[in-house]
């Protein structure tokens, strides 16, 4: 919704502008107020927003209003470009030691997701052919060591522990252990701590001095608010961070903290955590984050995933059907199967511009439901599948019996089908509004 909301507001601002050749300062100022609110709602730091708005205003004033775009879209484009630029114009990679064991140190506030992320990173690197060793250096939180051990076991990676000894000694010993055991990467999971806890911050400095890390990664919860800048600055000043990892981005946070932190530390965001599974770690793409902060949805990720997973001929067939409005339950089933190939539905729905997951209640499915759905649809007659409106009460009971489900299940499916239909219609309208070919969604773009 947010993207559309922002676009609509900007369009209203620019309505009177039609026919004018250039954007004046007054036009832009009015528009910038909306952008400013959008950024603040996304948790971008107040100061960062102020500076940003000033910069964009300078760039936008005097711009020719290009014919192909409406002024609103043009301003959004400038805003998006600047956001992307601010967030680092290209993706950034990990530094590896050319000759010796690469040391990666994970640091951050309590509860930001360091332990899980250490496991994810280990798995990611081992898939790339590295031989990581995980190191349990959180000696404070109850059962933190055990947590890392369980994680290590799940992904088949060794975990170095030394009980609750001094984390500096643990780290040093782990490095030696790695050299002896042919591990080429060491990932140190440190305890969460407050940036204003001098004693514990000193402990991190001591670890750093002892093992000379190639990467010191600040793990940041993407739901963090205005305080993100204070936290990141403090960690950066003490440790000279080499990068950031944003976690919990699979929720519906707009993630403005990413922008704030990048702006104050200058450190690149290297990865994002997209779920609780240990495979849910992805490289960071600045332009996608920019769209997300503006509320535009992660269109690019969606396109990429869709392109990878979708059978193009089938997609085209579907497009055609939706356009002609003869999208049936058969197609629905086919479509669900395709969508499942792209990842979890939660993830996908989050990437669709303008759709907040709350708005989509009832259109989410899990694996088990999919099996049910298949059974239900298979229990329908040909006629029913083509024309669900004829499915009355007694038909519903028959279908439920036939598929071993309940009438409620059948009702729910029919409702979901209707909603999906509606959703796709909306998306197709959204797409038209964006001018052809701008965001080509091979699947949802109908």
């Amino acid at each position: 919704m947010a993207f559309e909301a922002l676009t609509q507001k900007l369009e209203a601002v620019f309505k009177k502008l039609r026919g004018k050749g250039k954007l004046t300062e007054a036009d832009v100022k009015q528009a910038m107020r909306e952008v400013k609110l959008a950024l603040l709602e996304a948790d971008v730091n107040y100061k960062v927003v102020k500076d940003f708005i000033q910069r964009v205003t300078e760039r936008a004033v005097g711009q020719e209003v290009m014919e192909s775009l409406t002024p609103a879209q043009q301003v959004i484009k400038i805003v998006n470009d600047e956001l992307t630029r601010l967030m680092g114009s290209k993706e950034s990679r990990l530094n590896f030691s050319p000759s010796k064991v690469t040391v990666i140190m994970m640091v951050g506030l309590q509860g930001s997701g360091k332990t899980t992320t250490a496991g994810k990173l280990g798995l990611y690197l081992s898939k790339k052919g590295r031989r990581p060793l995980l190191v349990a250096a959180d000696i404070y939180r109850p059962a933190a060591i055990k947590q890392l051990q369980v994680v290590g076991e799940k992904i088949g990676l060794p975990v170095f522990t030394m009980g609750e000894q001094n984390p500096v000694n643990i780290s040093r010993a782990a490095l030696e252990y790695a050299s002896r055991h042919n591990n080429d990467v060491v990932i140190i999971d440190t305890a969460g701590r407050l940036h204003i806890d001098d004693e514990l911050m000193q402990e991190l400095i001591n670890i750093k001095d002892a093992v000379n890390p190639d990467e010191i990664l600040l793990v940041v919860d993407s739901m963090t608010g205005q305080d993100a800048v204070n936290v990141a600055e403090a960690f950066h000043n003490k440790l000279q961070l080499t990068g950031l990892i944003l976690t919990k981005l699979d929720g519906d946070t707009r993630g403005g903290a990413a922008l704030s932190i990048k702006a104050v530390t200058g450190c690149p965001i290297k990865f994002v955590g997209m779920g609780e599974k240990l495979t849910d770690l992805e490289p960071f793409y600045p332009e996608r984050m920019a769209s997300r902060i503006l509320g535009m949805g992660d269109v690019l990720s969606l396109i990429e995933k869709a392109t990878a997973a979708i059978d193009h001929n089938k997609a085209r067939e579907l497009e055609e059907k939706i356009r002609k409005e003869d999208f049936t339950l058969n197609d629905f089933l086919e479509q669900l199967k395709q969508v499942r190939k792209m990842g979890s539905l939660d993830q996908i729905l989050n990437m669709i511009p303008g759709f907040s997951p709350q708005k989509l209640q009832g259109v989410e499915f899990n694996e088990k439901e999919l099996v049910h759905i298949e059974a239900i649809i298979n229990s329908m007659t040909k006629e029913e599948r083509l024309n669900p409106s004829i499915i009355n009460g007694s038909r519903r009971r028959r279908i439920a019996m036939g598929s071993g489900t309940s009438v409620q299940d059948v009702n729910r499916l029919l409702r979901q089908f209707e909603q999906t239909k509606k959703m796709m219609k909306q998306l197709s309208e959204l797409e038209k509004g964006k001018k052809k070919g701008r965001f080509k969604l091979p699947f949802f773009n109908l």
């Binding site: 500076d51 997701g113 051990q149 919860d221 205005q226 305080d227 936290v231 919990k248 929720g251 709350q358």
Partner: protein, 298 residues
């Protein structure tokens, strides 16, 4: 000077405590003008109160300035503080045994730690407490709660990792009845409010409580990390819908974050803050004091 440097410098400048800022702002401005209000606005937004609630507060303040002929900045500050304090509903949370408390929230906010602290608090008041380790998902979550149980000296009912959380709670309820516990506190796995199936799982825990222990008073408390921004509003809304949240526990207030989003939540969802977490120790849990909370914002 480059853009980042400029930015860094300006951020460093504003890092001074908010208190100092308001103080100087109010001291030197002799009359209340739009600039003053705008600067107050900045303070509120920087505390994570959010655009909407900030605008509401400021516009109410504007009316007050007119109606009550507020002239001095001191009065203005007091008026704004009162506006914020008034946003918080009166907390209605008394434990009448037997009681079941579900502790819920997104990942890493401090649920398990808070349970340790709550258990300690109730035990100190002479209550018999049992903990249910119904986070069967996260690695070593059960061990973590067990350590807290030992620390505080209360029983922990647990199953293996991966087992059904509802069956853990079921067993805890049976144990609670048998051992005549006053309060059963149930730990739950951290979950993002956007995960529909996980929210369903949570509702099931609530239903199990109702069904298996109809005599008990069931309440759900939402744990919020004070460093969270505007997303906390969505969290509160959806958790409230799912399990009928009766109040909020705001953790990590020992950091530099103000937790202002709790004001927005109180304003939009009428949810009180019950306790605040101010550290990792067993007694680092305090009853919420709106006055102290608001003072910390300024």
């Amino acid at each position: 000077m480059g853009f980042f440097d400029r930015l860094k410098q300006s951020l460093a400048k504003t890092r001074d405590s908010l208190a100092g800022k308001v103080e100087s702002l109010l001291k030197f401005s002799t009359k209340i003008d739009e600039d003053t209000l705008e600067e107050l606005e900045e303070i509120l937004i920087t505390a994570d109160i959010g655009v909407d609630t900030t605008e509401k507060l400021i516009s109410r303040l504007r009316e007050k300035v007119k109606a009550e002929k507020i002239k001095s900045p001191e009065e203005l500050k007091e008026a704004l503080k009162n506006e914020i304090i008034n946003v918080f509903p009166e907390p209605k949370f008394d434990i009448i045994p037997p009681a079941i408390i579900l502790i819920v929230g997104v990942n890493g906010v401090g649920k398990t730690t808070t349970i340790g602290k709550l258990a300690y608090k109730f035990k100190s008041k002479g209550k018999k407490v049992i903990l249910a380790a119904a986070d069967t998902f996260r690695a070593a979550a059960t061990e973590q709660l067990s350590i807290w149980g030992q620390r505080v000296g209360v029983d922990v009912i647990k199953h293996q990792e991966g087992s059904d959380p509802a069956s853990v709670l079921f067993d805890a309820i049976q144990a609670g009845k048998a051992r005549r516990a006053d309060i059963i506190i149930c730990d739950t796995a951290g979950r993002l409010h956007t995960k529909k199936n996980l929210m369903e799982e949570l509702k099931k825990l609530y239903r199990v409580s109702e069904k298996e222990y109809p005599e008990a008073r069931i309440s759900s408390l939402l744990v919020l990390d004070a460093t969270t921004g505007q997303n906390a509003i969505a969290q509160a809304r959806i958790f409230k819908e799912a399990v009928n949240i009766s109040g909020i526990i705001l953790t990590k207030l020992d950091g530099t974050a103000k937790g202002g989003v709790a004001v927005a939540i109180a304003s939009e969802l009428n949810l009180p803050v019950l306790f605040v977490g101010v550290g990792e120790g067993v007694d680092d849990l305090q009853e919420f004091d709106p006055n102290a909370f608001v003072d910390a914002i300024f």
